[in-house]
């Protein structure tokens, strides 16, 4: 399977062979009509484009044979824009129509006065279409519970939350100098540096019991600031490493720096508000898709407030899995180890042979490979587009993100069954830690079809 990334200007000509004739060009026109390609071009120039994966034998899709022959020959050289709807390889008019229907369904749902959460979840589960900010709106609004179902309240909620965020930022991200200055100005606004023009000894103010830079008191603003600097440095380092292949995040353009700055604020704020878990390496990866989706929203107001919205949604998303990050809770019933054993149980219930092979023959424990899968919500295992697609399903699951997450992890194991069964410890571990590319729709299909054991693992307090 071909997979690679080329950097081309956003307006790269599409190489459609004339042989295909009216069908494909019909598709071409359709796309332009939708104007969707334009919205996808709202990225700054230099956005990367993907070479399509020609879906080979393992896709499990129904494809008309005629198409396969012609397409496969051309696919190797074709470059598509990211407006590809469901991330799979083929262009077929049927798919386009289906995708269009889905989009209008989605738009219809979102335009209702009272959003039907269930319907939205179902549509989202089958993959959200790109463009026109639909994904941003859907994720934001309902899947993460950020916006209430009633459409009228959206405006109010949004502005309230955004203001709250701005206030939080002001309070918590201030440097101690500014903090003390503002405090002073509030206290003695009448006191002036009248001695600015007068020579002589400068006036001293005794502050032995107040705050000073070398204070090590817990309540000292300075002390907290210095403690936080270490975290801030760690966050910075991680941000530099986020998705180095994407111009949106990495590189030295003011564009990417602006985004990293926004993400840094969000993560620092989160660390300050949650002293129990602070910042853990990898949180930047969980934040990245959310922030990306929100700031590429064609709606200008939404995009401008992407930072505030991402913060709230990030908090909501993490609150689900926050226990996984807390080291003390590792061995408890809510910690990561318990979740990993649930994964093992799920595998056992669905494919005992594979489970036995991994557990006993290979002696591979879920900790060795699934730790990252679960804590980082699979952001490190797939390419960016696949992550967005998987998250569509994760976020839309009526039983919660964790439930679907475990299913997807289990499905990942099942999809690799044949290779795993023939591999030894080293080979299998290598395979699982560098999970190969597979058809995402197939993966999600398998995940959905798993026997629903996890419903019995609902944690009741």
């Amino acid at each position: 399977m071909l997979k690679g990334k080329l950097k081309l200007s956003a307006k790269a000509p599409r190489v459609f062979p004339d042989r295909i004739g009216s069908l494909v060009s019909g598709f071409d026109d359709k796309e332009d009509e939708n104007g969707e390609s334009d919205s996808a071009l709202d990225f700054e120039s230099g956005e990367e484009l993907e070479i399509l994966q020609p879906s080979g034998a393992g896709s499990g899709r129904e494809i008309e044979d005629g198409y396969v022959d012609i397409m496969e020959g051309q696919l190797e050289s074709r470059v598509r824009q990211r407006s590809e709807k469901d991330g799979s390889g083929l262009v077929s008019v049927k798919e386009v129509i289906a995708a269009d229907e889905k989009r209008s369904d989605l738009e219809y749902e979102l335009s209702q006065k009272e959003i039907n959460l269930e319907k939205l979840q179902r549509i989202a589960d089958s993959g959200l279409p790109e463009g026109r900010g639909l994904r941003a709106t859907t994720w934001k609004q309902l899947l993460l519970g950020y916006l209430p179902p009633s459409r009228d309240l959206w405006e109010k909620e949004l502005t309230e939350n955004r203001q709250k965020y701005a206030k939080l930022k002001e309070e918590l991200l201030l440097s101690p100098s500014e903090f003390t200055r503002i405090k002073e100005e509030a206290l003695d606004s009448n006191e002036q540096n009248a001695d600015s023009d007068v020579d002589g000894p400068l006036r001293r103010q005794e502050i032995s019991h107040e705050d000073h830079p070398l204070s090590s008191g817990k309540a000292s603003v300075w002390h907290q600031y210095f403690q936080h600097i270490e975290i801030a440095e760690q966050i910075d380092r991680d941000l530099q490493r986020t998705h180095p292949d994407m111009k949106f995040f990495s590189g030295d353009t003011s564009f990417s720096r602006k985004h990293r700055e926004a993400m840094r604020n969000i993560l620092r704020l989160f660390a300050k508000l949650n002293p129990a878990i602070r910042y853990v390496q990898g949180m930047n990866e969980v934040l990245a898709p959310i922030y990306y989706v929100f700031s590429t929203d064609p709606d200008e107001q939404n995009a401008a407030n992407a930072e505030a919205d991402s913060f709230s949604c990030f908090v909501r998303l993490l609150s689900d899995s926050v226990d996984h990050f807390c080291q003390q809770l590792d061995n408890s019933s809510v910690g990561i180890l318990s979740t990993l054993s649930r994964l093992a149980e799920l595998l056992k219930a669905n494919d005992e042979e594979l489970w036995r092979h991994l557990e006993f023959t290979n002696k591979i424990k879920p900790q060795f490979y699934a730790f990252r899968w679960i804590t980082l919500l699979l952001t490190q295992e797939f390419n960016f587009q696949s992550i967005l697609r998987i998250w569509d399903s994760l976020l839309s699951n009526p039983f919660g993100v964790q439930d679907m997450l475990l299913r997807v992890c289990c499905a990942m194991l099942l999809c690799m069954k044949s290779r795993l069964l023939t591999g030894d410890f080293v080979a299998n571990l290598k395979l699982l830690q560098h999970y190969p590319d597979i058809n995402i729709e197939h993966l999600l299909l398998v995940a959905r079809d798993l026997s629903p054991d996890t419903s019995s693992y609902r944690l009741s307090p």
């Binding site: 440097s175 101690p176 100098s177 500014e178 003390t180 200055r181 540096n193 001695d195 600015s196 023009d197 007068v198 020579d199 002589g200 000894p201 400068l202 006036r203 001293r204 103010q205 005794e206 502050i207 032995s208 107040e210 000073h212 830079p213 070398l214 090590s216 210095f226 600097i229």
Partner: protein
Amino acid sequence: MVLVLAIGDLHIPHRASDLPPKFKSMLVPGKIQHIICTGNLSVKEVHDYLKSLCPDLHVTRGEYDEDSRYLETKTLTIGQFKLGICHGHQVIPWGDLDSLAMLQRQLDVDILVTGHTHQFKAYKHEGGVVINPGSATGAYSSFTYDVNPSFVLMDIDGLRVVVYVYELIDGEVKVDKIDFKKTATTRSAH
């Protein structure tokens, strides 16, 4: 927000063995961005210790310094401020404000940091500010044995400097704060 430590006249090991423990516990690496040392450390070990607190260290030569490679005077720019360093034994009369003002004009700096008198001083004089961090170890000076250990931490934030003075009086650390703003008229025109 830049933190600058002004310290000097430690006279280790000749007149004092070490910094007071209360000072030592406060001075930890990672907080300070620059260190300005007026001189008379006097040995390399002290230099290394200060270097461990902050890699950006500026030292001028005092008359008892064993390292003869230190300069007599130094200037540096931090933020909006120009700082000058000189040990002060070269400026006669010692501690005289007018003579120090001459040195300040010569170096063309906003804040002049000198030592030698082992006495903390912060003066505004003839358009510039003179700061003497005193002796960090409380070593006896050429004038007197009665010296309180002291040093100075400056917080340079834009056009404003907040000077925190740390003094050890009767075994207790006393902290004072001085505010200083740089205005267009602060520097005397010539």
